[in-house]
Symmetry: C2
Subunit: 334 residues, 2 copies
DNA sequence: TCGAAGTTAGTGAACGGTCACTTCGCATGT
DNA sequence: ACATGCGAAGTGACCGTTCACTAACTTCGA
């Protein structure tokens, strides 16, 4: 049947007995075409099984309807959530989002982004990772590039994503419940988020005049967190553990369990990430949930604003929220 | 400085004092160009900050170096892992992978895929969701479309991903350890994976002549799993729980804990997903890890084989593996 | 010394759409 | 009756690259 080459707009036009331009107008749903012709063209398109070549269209019109979403290499659930949010936002503005992974060193990445920007494939780009010099080197006439650096080159959270206001909330409320002596189980410091949580922990303890047993480096390893609790000297006075994520929190709870301590009766524990398994345990783990989708939406909406020539809205509503569950409670009364 | 229009290959050619075709050859790293000219062209490119327009290139050459990875809407960690695997495989063959979300009904999706296929944007497409009639309706001359239906239209695992051989392994080994009476905590049956795990549970119990307390519908809710264990009558004889995922397993462990039962001393529990938090608990949960990346790699390698005109390799090595941890052990000796 | 083959570079068309401009037909106003 | 304006449709150029040919020059063997 239909054999070699894909039908083009001109063949559709020939079959419908109109000019190619009329078909082009029809495809753009230009309403200055008479009903009769619209019908003829529709029939011809169906008959030839015609589908427009988007590459050719993009070449002439410089409009591709596509945005690029640039991620550093590596796998993180958060990035998928952000992507989902980005897609939602882009879709409502009639754009398609594509994911492109950027590997290599920061400078290489900038080069690659500039290539993509000038490739004509995208009308705008959102990068979740930092790109040195990109704003000065990019073509001012080219597609806008929004840098929302949520990750460094190893998919580690930075910036907004690494903010740790919830740590402050945890400590404040636990102090209200009578806790005086805390310990922090920290993640791997190559992660900005681990550093930030530690910083906020130290600051808050200090500001509120509380007591800290210290910061224990756990490197995101549950085993270390468990051992840290097991190693706590008898009578250390620690009643609350601020863990850098849910895995460490669960490791800590595991350590408490092995010592025969009750959580939260003897020890309160907080985590981070809102892992569904941590919510299923007894005790369910108090944690922090991060609204990644809204971060993705926000990045794209900034891009869309720039595309429309508007000033980019710089909303800074909080994206993370503490979720209080069973692993925290009043300090023991002893 | 550099102002309005992007420099083209012809401007580079003019500046370098050669023809545009020579520049084109240079860009393809065609080695039939004298060293002297190569040098002049390189200088001109650098001076003009020229970057090739990939859209124009794609239009003429019909080669875009891009593959599309089609996902149903929805968020799942697994799909990100598969994407990572797909990227690795594609990258090693010099292709870039783009993610496109397919929404709408199955028929709408097929239409959209055909549009994408004939859009000229991609040299091949991999769909992780079923596409009715796509093989009969697609242009035989167009880019190949591989359908690896791991998900249905709601991002629920189907096919290979829903296979549940590990359930068989769990039951067999637990039976070896003296367990005779089992219970299955099932997920939401709209998920093929939940149905498959239940089926394999029932079949295996039957085949080995074991005893089942029954299948309890838990709908992926930890609360239900916990309650199911709490509701187990005293002396039910159940010593092993096969839960459909880690959340249900942890809910079950939570129920056992509330009844004062020891895991695995009184009750063995298995999960599914290898959630890191479930591994951090005491007891660490016996579970199943699925190698999503290899699924992604495999799908792309099938596509690449088709692109090269080879027969697609249909490897069926197992993608999931049981991980035995502390939540399972010998049956109580009473 | 000359022709064949090989190497290096150039010329113009072509890819499949859209843009800018033109043409045609008809209603309208004076 | 004729200029004016507007809507509907057509004409040909153009977007930036690569492809298919062709041209010029070099090398080499007989």
């Amino acid at each position: 049947m239909r054999s070699r080459p894909r039908p083009t707009i001109r063949e559709v036009a020939r079959l419908a007995g109109v000019s190619h331009q009329t078909v082009s107008r029809y495809l753009k749903t230009d309403d200055t075409i008479s009903k009769a012709l619209q019908q003829r063209i529709a029939t011809a398109i169906a008959q030839l099984d015609y589908r427009p070549n988007l590459v050719a269209r993009a070449m002439r019109s410089r409009k591709t309807g596509r945005l690029a979403f640039l991620l550093p290499p590596g796998t993180a659930i958060s990035s998928l959530e952000m992507l989902t949010g980005a897609k939602t936002e882009a879709h409502s503005a009639g754009y398609v989002v594509e994911v492109v992974t950027l590997d290599g060193s920061p400078d290489t990445r900038t080069d690659r982004v500039l290539e993509l920007a000038d490739s004509g494939l995208f009308e705008g780009l959102v990068s979740l990772t930092a790109l040195p010099d990109v704003s000065s080197r990019r073509d001012p006439q080219g597609p806008p590039i929004i840098v929302a650096p949520h990750y460094d080159e190893h998919m580690r959270s930075v910036g907004e994503l690494a903010d740790a206001p919830a740590v402050e909330e945890f400590i404040t409320r636990l102090a209200d419940q009578g806790h005086r002596r805390f310990v922090h189980l920290a993640g791997d410091y190559v992660h900005m988020s681990a550093r930030r949580r530690r910083e906020v922990y130290i600051e808050t303890i200090e500001r509120l005049g509380l007591d800290s047993y210290g910061v224990i480096d756990c490197d995101w390893l549950a085993q270390r967190a468990r051992q840290a609790i097991l190693d706590l000297p008898e009578g250390s006075g620690v009643t609350a553990v601020i863990a850098a994520n849910d895995v460490l929190a669960v490791g800590a709870i595991s350590g408490a369990y092995l010592r025969g301590w009750l959580v939260p009766g003897d020890l309160s524990v907080t985590g981070w990430d809102d892992n569904p398994v941590a919510a299923a345990m007894t005790p369910a783990v108090t944690t922090v949930s991060v609204d990644y989708q809204s971060l993705g939406r926000r990045a794209v909406s900034r891009l869309l604003a720039t595309l429309r020539g508007e000033e980019a809205p710089e909303s800074r509503e909080p994206v993370s929220a503490a979720i209080w569950r069973e692993s925290t409670g009043p300090a023991p009364t002893t």
